[in-house]
């Protein structure tokens, strides 16, 4: 369905304003119920036994000692899964509970319900599992070469995405090559995986859970439980951050199984260590690039091979690989492109969605390459980017022509024009130096560098996916006021969707009072809170439903008031005639009537990629952001401080300017984390650092002040012209920071995160 043209009515706190979050007061009072806060009389606590081995055959499971423990109500293994013991977002390849083999460290083998969390933990420790340990498979490139044991039927390649665009054997005067690595990043949302499953009298179960997509959870749960859809109802529990890490199942099936088995409500909460095992991570990647250009730095070709390690199960590896490949040259116009991207299986932790989804890995490589090209051509890094910047009308390596604003040059020129932070002078404040109050330097050995990067991200689901959202809007008079109600299954994960949906209703219906119903599966799917898509998709659906309500209301008003329908509008709680002004209060016109519409809304269709050439109109919309980083590096100790991180991003239309800034700050911070600190370190598939003392995320001290400019170049195809906001700032932040470190040190730095030993050479 297409978007009907905008509206002449506005309301206070409508789109373009920044009203306070409707859930804000509860959040600051500690009254907002996160999924880990849920409680039910008589509830049991669930716990999970996980494999200590990355790869092993299971030779036997003895649960008798665990069952004998007082207070234990159930100990379940794969034989207790009544439906299909497989789930997965793209391929159902992951067991709910392991059968005869475990493929990663932390894979769930058995689950327990007990009357106390400590009892459950002890019961887990009493389950005796026999393992025959196998040599883990950990090399993506070997997987592509067909080496090593097959972890899944059909081999260890989840997906190969080739892109063949333009001529394949052209040559160029200037050639730069590189091999780049991206470490495995964790979403590290602060609120751990958790939920509460309550068995129902109808033999079904009600699950309250923190997730990103209620309906895709439901679909996988019913398959595993062997229940019809109406017997498994999900409601969103409060979500303590997501960033992609809640798109796959964690506690969902386990809690439901235990609840159905015991007939009692079961709560499950992961602790921080378990959370590192309990969700997918960002794919670590190895990327080989060759850029060919003329002597003026204009790109002739890009060739790349990318290896994304998907770990033990497929999750969204296919789609992540699709993104890395299709966005593999970055926001540049390149006439000839050869890309091969492989997503592979291994015995490393499973990888899937994380903010930036495939675009992050590619961007670190192609932006590093652009800096190399600049050096090879004797050009300024911004200049080389400007010479190759894509724009509206550019044909991308998929053959898709960009048909809305793509202001890559404007982002870069604005960024370059921003003032740089002042040089350090005099006796510096320790807190402004690398090492901070550890007093490691007073400025000696510290050098400064500046780096730029720009990135591109597809917004919404791509490659022919039937991407839609469902929204219900109701308008009636309540207590003498016109009141609207909005219902969707779209997950509020902290991004502020609940605020934006209310703003849309206020704009379209001109009413102040808007109630948001709990998000649950009693309405159709809203799709995932991922791919920067909810403002576009559920915003689009809510707007479409509101427009239908408004049309019905105007019809009704025309009848009651005996006025020409075409002359009427609603706004500010009034029914207004264009010729005669205010005709009546909306509340009087409404009377006892209620207007209630549910709409299923889709973005324009996309195409799948040609499996041989990677050609196709695969993407709906593109988002762009650019960063400039200024970094001080203590070259003796390898410590560094990001002094400034400035950003320009085009958001099409800022529905909520404050929320837009929050997304840019948050996304940039996660990019900074990947640049200089965040990595799940594995050794033979074993995670070395599953804690917040060993996996560091940026604190307030690590985040420099940011200058941010937001452009609003409307996309005519999108609701209100908006462009998804959440992911683009994560993408360019990382390469900009690394470019600045390179500029300061002259080191090649082809791997993120950059660690002190990379800077000192020790």
């Amino acid at each position: 369905m297409t978007t009907t043209e905008s509206t002449d009515v506005t309301a206070a706190q409508g789109i373009g304003t920044s009203p306070v979050r409707p859930d804000g007061t509860m959040k600051v009072r500690g009254e907002f119920a996160y999924s880990s806060d849920l409680w039910h009389e008589d509830m049991l606590w669930g716990a999970t036994l996980r494999s200590p081995h990355p790869y092993a055959h299971i030779t036997g499971i003895d649960i008798s000692a665990a069952l004998a423990l007082p207070g234990v109500y159930a100990v379940l293994t794969h034989t207790d899964v009544p439906g299909v013991n497989r789930y997965g977002l793209e391929h159902p390849d992951q067991p709910v509970l392991a059968e005869d083999v475990v493929r990663y460290q932390g894979e769930p083998v058995a689950i327990v319900a007990a009357d106390h969390p400590e009892t459950a933990r002890r019961a887990v420790a009493k389950i005796d599992v026999g393992y025959e340990v196998l040599e883990p498979v950990t090399d993506s490139e070997a997987a592509v070469a067909g080496e090593g044991p097959e972890l899944h039927p059909g081999g260890n390649v989840v997906r190969h995405v080739p892109i063949r665009f333009g001529e394949q054997d052209v040559t160029a005067d200037v050639v730069v090559t590189g091999r780049y690595e991206v470490g495995m990043q964790d979403q590290a949302f602060l609120g751990p995986e958790s939920g509460l499953a309550v068995p129902a009298e109808d033999g079904g179960v009600d699950l309250f859970v923190a997730t990103q997509w209620l309906h895709v959870d439901q679909q996988q749960i019913v398959a595993a439980l062997g229940l019809p859809k109406d017997k498994v109802r999900l409601t969103l529990g409060g979500v303590g951050g997501a960033f992609g890490g809640r798109e796959d199942l964690s506690i969902q099936v386990h809690a439901c199984l235990l609840a159905l088995h015991t007939g009692k409500p079961v709560k499950m909460v992961y602790n921080r260590e378990e959370s590192f095992y309990g969700h997918v991570h960002r794919h670590p990647a190895t990327l080989y690039y060759e850029h060919g250009a003329d002597r003026d730095g204009r790109l002739v070709y890009v060739r790349a091979r990318m290896y994304l390690d998907g770990g033990a199960y497929a999750s969204t590896t296919g789609a992540v690989s699709g993104n890395a490949a299709t966005l593999g040259v970055g926001p540049y116009s390149v006439p000839n492109v050869t890309i091969d991207c492989w997503g592979t299986y291994s015995n490393n932790p499973p990888c899937g969605a994380m903010r930036g989804f495939g675009a992050v890995q590619a961007a670190f490589a192609y932006e590093s390459q652009m800096d190399r090209l600049a050096r090879a051509c004797g050009l300024d890094p911004v200049e080389v980017r400007l010479r190759n910047a894509m724009s509206e009308g550019t044909r991308l390596p998929t053959g898709q022509v960009v048909d809305s604003a793509a202001p890559v040059d404007e982002l870069l020129t604005r960024l370059r024009a921003m003032p740089l932070p002042a040089d350090r002078s005099g006796e510096p404040d320790l807190r402004h130096l690398p090492g901070g109050v550890s007093n490691t330097t007073h400025g000696e050995g510290v050098v400064r560098g500046v780096g730029y990067a720009v990135g591109i991200k597809n917004i919404c689901f791509s490659e022919g996916f039937d991407d839609y959202s469902t929204a219900r809007v109701r308008l009636e008079a309540l207590g003498g006021e016109p009141a609207a109600t909005v219902q969707t299954a779209a997950c509020e994960v902290g991004q502020g969707l609940v605020t934006i949906l209310q703003q849309i209703i206020r704009t379209e219906l001109g009413v102040e009072q808007v109630t948001t119903l709990p998000m649950d599966t009693s309405i159709g799917s809203a799709g995932s809170s991922s791919a920067s898509r909810q403002s576009y998709m559920t915003g689009g659906a809510v707007r479409a439903a509101a427009l239908e309500v408004r049309a019905a209301l105007v019809e009704h008003a025309a009848r009651i008031l005996g006025h020409d329908r075409g002359d009427l509008s609603v706004g500010g709680g009034k029914v207004v005639s264009r010729t005669d002004g205010v005709l009546a209060d909306l509340v009087d016109v409404l009377g006892d009537a209620a207007f209630d519409r549910t709409v299923e809304w889709r973005h324009r269709p996309t195409e799948s990629l040609d499996p041989e050439t990677g050609q196709g109109n695969a993407h709906v919309q593109y988002g762009f952001a650019a960063h400039r980083a200024v970094v001080d590096v203590d070259t003796e100790l390898g410590l560094l401080k990001v002094v400034a991180l400035d950003c320009v991003q085009d958001v099409g239309k800022a529905l909520n300017p404050q929320a837009v800034l929050g997304q840019i700050q948050g996304g940039s911070a996660q990019g900074l984390g990947l640049a200089v600190m965040e990595e799940i370190q594995t050794e033979g598939g074993v995670i070395r650092n599953p804690s917040f003392t060993d996996y560091l995320i940026p604190t307030v001290l690590d985040m420099p002040p940011m200058r941010i400019e937001v452009l609003e170049l409307a996309d005519p195809h999108a609701p209100y012209g908006l462009r998804g906001v959440g992911e683009p700032p994560t993408i360019s932040s990382t390469p900009a920071i690394v470019a600045a470190i390179r500029a300061a040190t002259g080191l090649a730095l082809d791997r993120v995160p950059v660690r002190p030993e990379h800077l000192t050479g020790t």
């Binding site: 007061t25 959040k27 119920a33 700050q665 917040f692 001290l701």
Partner: protein, 178 residues
């Protein structure tokens, strides 16, 4: 159903292991007693025994600050303190910050400045921020950042957190309130 309990949850049926100890302390101005294993943390006592789930568990290892509460007016990490250590002491949690239903100015400022996204770190941020003012450490942005650096925010709402604290500090802190 999706709300937190308004009555304290019943103590669990079985809690194997060490000795029980009864701790009598004041929580948000009300005398409370908790009978629990000596090893139960203040955080678990608040959340699971007293139904005060406003205090969050982000790591249970003293690394994130989500569990920050006040004990005798000083900020502590509730996951690093045993409930038994609080005998006879005064504990304030996020639920106890408001006075006569009026939110603390810091709570208002966090809403006004949008000092959070998911909000999971927020109770800890606010408890730290209120203590920070009392400690007299909110003089400059640098001070605020330095002394708030124990409170992680994965959504990275840091600029707005600092702005909210600055705003309250400028208004003369929380002296009128507490």
């Amino acid at each position: 159903m999706t709300s937190t309990p308004d009555v304290p949850p019943a103590p669990p049926q079985s809690d194997p292991g060490a000795a029980e100890i009864t701790t009598a302390f004041t929580v948000n101005g009300t005398p409370r007693t908790v009978g629990a294993d000596t090893r139960v943390t203040l955080l678990d006592a608040l959340r699971d025994r007293l139904g005060l789930t406003g205090t969050k568990k982000g790591c249970d290892q003293g690394a994130c600050g989500a569990c920050t509460v006040h004990v005798d007016g000083r900020r502590v990490l509730a996951c690093l303190m045993l409930a038994a250590q609080c005998d006879g002491r005064e504990v304030t949690t996020i639920e106890g910050l408001s006075r006569e239903g009026r939110p603390h100015p810091m709570q208002d400022a966090f809403v006004r400045h949008d000092g959070f996204q998911c909000g999971y770190c927020t109770p800890g941020q606010i408890m730290s921020a209120v203590a920070l003012l009392r400690e007299g450490r909110a003089g400059t942005d640098e001070d605020i950042r330095e002394f708030m650096s124990g409170n992680l925010c994965r959504c990275a709402a840091y600029p707005n957190v600092v702005a909210a604290i600055k705003d309250v500090a400028r208004e003369g802190g929380d002296h009128a309130h507490l």
